[in-house]
């Protein structure tokens, strides 16, 4: 009988391993950004609609804000766009676009077509500043608190679950900033 149960036992072991693997899959998938928990680097970049004005992350100091990396070439950004829309309207903190490795004309056309709910954009056509920020790809969404510390980083497009999670974290940051 034991011999007959052996396949079942082996299979059970395999299942345990796979369940455990699934649990940690999320963690392993995310590249641990060395910058989470550290102050956001000071980045000064021109705007998208207004190339003459330069803006810096330092200007935002003192308030929590959301930094969203996107590009018109990145289709996953189109997928997450409805949630970006909602973040811009509902989060109650500035939503900063980080337009990455793009071209001005295409980026503007993209915004015309899909809607622009970011409060303003920083443009990094060469992708130099993105290195300091530790951008791995687009889309990525960073939450920066009022002390200028990167609290959280989401890699990949935002879906309903991620949206809820981000909103919760933003509310927490707002509460901390006010207290």
């Amino acid at each position: 009988m034991i011999r007959m149960l052996l396949p079942l036992i082996v299979f059970g072991g395999l299942l345990v391993l796979l369940v455990a693997g699934l649990q940690t899959a999320e963690e392993r998938k995310l590249v641990q950004s060395p910058l989470v928990g550290k102050p956001v680097p000071e980045i000064t970049l021109p705007g998208l609609h207004d190339p003459e004005t330069t803006r810096s992350t330092a200007d935002l100091h003192g308030h929590p804000y959301i930094l969203n990396v996107w590009g018109s070439w990145c289709w996953a950004c189109r997928v997450e766009h409805p949630y970006i829309d909602r973040l811009g309207r509902e989060a109650g903190v500035p939503l900063v676009g980080f337009n990455w490795k793009d071209e001005r004309e295409e980026a503007l056309a993209w915004l015309d077509r899909f809607g622009d709910s970011w409060h303003f954009h920083l443009v990094d056509f060469e992708g130099r500043a993105a290195i300091d920020l530790g951008v791995y790809g687009a889309p990525e969404t960073y939450l920066v608190d009022h002390r200028g510390v990167i609290q959280h980083k989401h890699i990949g497009p935002i879906d309903a679950t991620v949206f809820e999670d981000l909103m919760r974290r933003v509310m927490q940051m707002r509460a901390e900033a006010e207290s």
Partner: protein, 150 residues
């Protein structure tokens, strides 16, 4: 014990022996072929034995790529934002290789603290792909990290 039974028992014994031997060989082979994934910070933090094969992942540091015009030799820095490691490589770099791009290098650290790569893969991560595309690219064996055209 009947002869048939005896024969069967020996057979089962032989199979068990063979399978155990194969398992031992497999585990040894696994230990030898394990490639640890490390970041430049890991390299800084611990001294790795020079002959240990590893996979080094990070971004190509800005302004560090230098080529020898007469051969295929190239050196560049790999950074994770916190630390940098110099990599030397002799061969053709993938299409997506450029400054600021994510790369994975296979190779080992030499005594002077330079990473000698025998293979460099550009991470294909400028955009996130649906799993099916990923899977297809993964078929190439150089998945997310490959220099595939999009």
């Amino acid at each position: 014990m009947t002869p048939t039974r005896k024969k069967r028992l020996t057979l089962v014994g032989l199979i068990v022996l063979g399978v155990s031997a194969a398992t031992v060989v497999a585990i040894t082979a696994l230990q030898d072929n394990m490639l640890f994934f490390v970041t430049p910070s890991d390299v800084q933090a611990q001294t790795l034995p020079p002959d240990r094969q590893i996979r080094l992942g990070g971004l190509v540091a800005d302004g560090t790529v230098s080529r020898d015009p007469d051969s295929l030799a190239v050196t560049f820095g790999v950074t994770d934002g916190a630390h940098d490691v110099m990599v030397s490589f002799n061969g053709i770099l993938p299409d997506l290789f450029r400054e600021g791009q994510g790369v994975i290098a296979h190779g080992h650290m030499d005594e002077s603290g330079v990473f000698r790569a025998h293979e460099v893969l550009a991470r294909h991560d400028e955009t996130y792909m649906p799993p099916e595309v990923m899977r297809a690219l993964e078929k190439a064996g150089h998945p997310i990290e490959a220099s595939m055209p999009q």
